[in-house]
């Protein structure tokens, strides 16, 4: 069973139809509202039947997102969203599977899974709402925090550790689609998500999503982001994509890379029945 073909956005399901009636726990002004909205708009554009989509998450502010949609969801445990999404897609290739969460969930406690999900190249879309901070635990440095950020009681001198580079690592590890968006430009994020879903294999969409409570200075991201990776000019060459990253200031948005790496495919079912297999034990 392959995922059902998705038609352009003229169908009957509207973005609103993909939202649940739950009120998010997020702070007013949180970037994640726009990401939620972008996911529902992308689903409407793709016209995925609600019952055929699933959003899997771990733990954190942004990981609350599945219950705010009206598709199937799994709000799991810290760091394990990707293997759950992997198991779901491998067992049910007919579904459109999203994985969503934050930078701590995905790149710290779930960092190993991130690397191997890129390598494995299962056909799913991973949306990381990156705000460079642990919000749910009230403001600690995350893997993407700058080394000199002194805003946390846990690391008052700053974390002093070079930030994790999600796009470089994704490209090195074999991710098939790599993009970055900004929650302050939600229509562009919709486009990135739609392209990510349509592209086969593992797709990473990093969305810079300000934490207005613990990182209020991130409000300035609307000035610092620049959409210089035009989706229609996405690189299909890894070397070129690496060179683009060397020139990246961390605020370039768009599609960095669209690869053609082999996509994880479950083995084709065969008609053998179990009784025949058991004959292998017979004396």
């Amino acid at each position: 069973m392959d995922a059902k073909p998705t038609a352009p956005g003229t169908g009957s399901l509207k973005a609103q139809d993909y939202k649940s009636d739950l009120k998010p726990v997020w702070c007013p002004g949180c970037g994640d509202f726009a990401v939620l909205s972008a996911i529902t708009k992308a689903l409407a554009e793709l016209q995925v039947p609600r019952e055929d989509a699933a959003v899997v998450s771990g733990i954190g502010c942004s990981s609350r997102i599945p219950a705010y949609t009206s598709v199937y969801g799994f709000h799991s445990i810290h760091g394990r969203a990707l293997p759950i999404a992997t198991g779901l897609k491998a067992a049910r290739p007919d579904l459109t599977v999203f994985c969503a969460g934050g930078d701590g969930d995905g790149f710290s406690i779930g960092g190993n899974h991130f690397i191997h999900a890129c390598r494995r190249n299962v056909d799913l879309t991973y949306i990381v709402m990156d705000n460079e901070v642990y919000g749910m635990t009230k403001g600690q440095a995350s893997p993407t925090t700058e080394p000199d950020w002194t805003g946390s009681k846990l690391t008052p001198q700053g974390p002093g550790v070079a930030p994790f580079q999600p796009l470089e690592i994704a490209l090195s590890a074999g991710a098939n689609f790599i993009a970055r968006g900004f929650s302050g430009d939600p229509n562009f994020v919709v486009r990135l998500i739609v392209e990510a879903v349509r592209h086969p294999g593992f797709s990473l969409v990093q969305v810079l999503s300000p934490c207005v409570t613990f990182r209020p200075e991130q409000r300035a991201w609307k000035e610092t982001t620049h959409a210089d990776w035009a989706p229609e000019a996405a690189s299909t060459d890894r070397r070129e994509a690496f060179l683009r990253l060397l020139d990246d200031d961390g605020f370039t948005t768009g599609v960095l890379y669209k690869g053609h790496n082999p996509v994880f495919a479950p083995p084709h079912p065969s008609s053998a029945n179990l009784a025949d297999l058991e004959k292998g034990f017979a004396l």
């Binding site: 394990r80 990707l82 083995p267």
Partner: protein, 576 residues
């Protein structure tokens, strides 16, 4: 010793071919109509190092080791001191030793066995292309009365791709070894099987667990290799694909268990296999399985612990983590097979329970069952196939994934079902599944998750119980797992000596079954608890959940030393 069975230890350094010879011996015995099993004792080395093929052969069904080895054939004496204690001998034992490999180490002489020097290496040298392990094989086969035809049949199969020269060299080696057997006295010979029984299997416990998983309906497996569980996964890999299932090799056990939860959330019965350290990594996710009511099965093949412990050798010391290792109040199921053959049924039953009750189920196998190969009668298919209670949308009624029902089981929608979209959650939740911190929601959900397990009718499979001997008895042995078969053998012997005794082997370790246990213990005044770990974990579990008879004692010992039937018989005797 009686001729009911013969026990053989074939030892040598890695590369000497003792495992190959042992495997051929057990296959040939099967072909000749006998039953038997072969366990492996291995050192920690990846290749090489000390190794022993430990066999017991019999015209009758047998699935556990005897008290002593009747015949030990040492191809060499490399590192024997590391595992001599696992090879109990007695005065009637015979050791075949090759003088070119040096003196018999003193540690092997404690029981004063008969020593028979046979120049195995020189005999092999006289055969063109001769091999020492084949000489040893021929010697053993001749000594115990195993027909040469049966051995040659197996060799023909094993060496099919190696050509006629290899086969002829092996047959010549075999015959050269057989000539040497004439000098050996005191090794029990087995009666030929009257008729070769139909429908038998040659299978390991790990393979049997894989078959049981498929019979139970498992169609998604996530795998991370670990000794001694890997063979469960390696058997499943090609066979699962054959029946349309999917296997993913995970990056670690945190991923393998959560991949299974993902597959199961998708409606596909899911399973993984691991051992102690892997189970420890999985416990957080198992808690998620409990809270989100996502069925999953973990086959945990126990080895010596804690930590890396003794990966290649058996122990029953993961009982505590399996029963108590989850955080929070997390009711789940723990099962244990009672024999190599029963690994099939118990795995199948575990899938059935997990699916029926939407709960994680841990099956505690162990290295002694998992990596031993036995000749068994083909297990019956008992038609336990997991049936998850599915949900369909009802017009005008919002779907409640975690509805509080009378039996605690709530209909589960799987993705693809229109109108039932919900979010599974490890956060405590309302019946609808929305996160909740309310005391009432917490109490209701804890109650239902407990109730579905305690109210379920587990039927007769909860334990194997059986009385040995005639008439009433106030004496019972209670045990679980691979220790069950030595206990059974001990009780057969005790019955022959006029001592009646009841056996209770628990297949369901958790949740407790107090009413069934009370019935099983009816009239019992003396209870012996037998288990293979240092802390007597099983005894503590019984004390926690059951009313036990007035006199209780335990026979418990850590691995890797197997509990032998004669030790159990001895423990039955003294109640002062």
């Amino acid at each position: 010793m009686s001729n009911r069975s013969v026990s053989i230890a074939l030892t040598g350094s890695g590369g000497a071919g003792v495992m190959t010879a042992g495997q051929i011996l057990v296959d040939a015995a099967a072909r000749a109509g006998w039953y038997g099993l072969m366990a492996r004792s291995l050192g920690p080395q990846i290749r090489g190092g000390e190794s022993a093929a430990l066999l017991r052969l019999s015209p009758y069904p047998v699935q556990s080791a005897d008290d002593f080895y009747d015949l030990m054939v040492a191809v060499d004496w490399g590192n024997i001191e590391r595992f001599a204690s696992e090879l109990p001998l007695h005065a009637a034992s015979v050791i075949i030793t090759d003088p070119s490999q040096g003196e018999v180490p003193p540690i092997m002489l404690a029981a004063a066995p008969h020593i028979v020097p046979v120049p195995l290496k020189d005999v092999a040298k006289e055969v063109t292309g001769g091999r020492v392990n084949m000489v040893a094989l021929g010697l053993i086969a001749a000594a115990i009365g195993l027909p040469e035809d049966a051995v040659i049949d197996v060799l023909r199969q094993v060496l099919a791709k190696k050509g006629a020269d290899a086969l002829n060299a092996s047959i010549a080696s075999l015959r050269a070894g057989a000539v040497q057997a004439a000098a050996i006295e005191g090794v029990p010979t087995l009666a030929p099987a009257g008729q070769v029984p139909e429908g038998r299997w040659s299978i390991t416990g790990n393979e049997a667990a894989g078959v049981g998983a498929l019979r139970g309906g498992v169609r998604f497996v996530a795998a991370y290799p670990i000794t001694p569980a890997t063979e469960v996964l390696e058997w499943l890999a090609p066979n699962l694909a054959q029946v349309g299932g999917t296997l993913v090799q995970a990056e670690d056990e945190l991923a393998s268990i959560t991949m299974c939860l993902g597959g199961s959330f998708g409606g596909v019965p899911s399973l993984t296999a691991t051992s102690g350290p892997g189970l420890a990594l999985m416990t957080e996710a198992l808690g998620l399985g409990v809270a989100s009511e996502t069925p999953v099965v973990v086959i945990n093949v126990m080895r010596g612990g804690p930590s890396t412990g003794i990966p290649t050798k058996s122990e029953q010391s993961d009982l505590n983590i399996a029963v108590y290792g989850l955080h929070g109040d997390a009711p789940h199921i723990v099962t244990a097979p009672t024999s190599i053959a029963d690994c099939l049924f118990t795995a199948q039953w575990s899938v059935y329970l997990a699916e029926s009750l939407q709960v994680p189920t841990i099956m505690l196998s162990d290295q002694a069952m998992g990596q031993s190969r036995a000749i068994i009668d083909k297990p019956a298919d008992l038609a336990f196939v997991g049936k998850r209670l599915r949900a369909e949308a009802t017009e005008g009624v919002p779907y409640q994934r975690y509805a509080v029902t009378a039996d605690g089981v709530s209909p589960m929608a799987v993705p693809g079902t229109p109108g039932c979209e919900y979010t599974a959650d490890g956060l405590e939740h309302s019946p609808r599944g929305t996160p909740s911190t309310q005391a009432q929601h917490h109490a209701d959900q804890l109650d239902k998750r407990q109730r579905k397990l305690t109210d379920f009718d587990y039927g007769d499979a909860w334990a194997h119980h059986e009385t040995f001997g005639t008439g009433e008895t106030d004496l019972a042995v209670i045990t679980f797992g691979s220790v069950t078969e030595p206990v059974r053998e001990a009780l057969v012997r005790a019955a022959e000596d006029g001592i009646s005794c009841r056996l209770i082997a628990l297949r369901l370790l958790s949740p407790a079954q107090p009413q069934r246990m009370a019935a099983a213990l009816d009239g019992i005044k003396r209870l012996l608890v037998v288990e293979q770990n240092h802390m007597a974990q099983f005894h503590a579990l019984l004390r926690a959940y059951y009313d036990l008879p007035p006199a209780v004692k335990t026979l418990h010992r850590p691995g890797p030393l197997a509990l032998r039937p004669h030790e159990i018989v001895a423990a039955l005797g003294d109640w002062t």
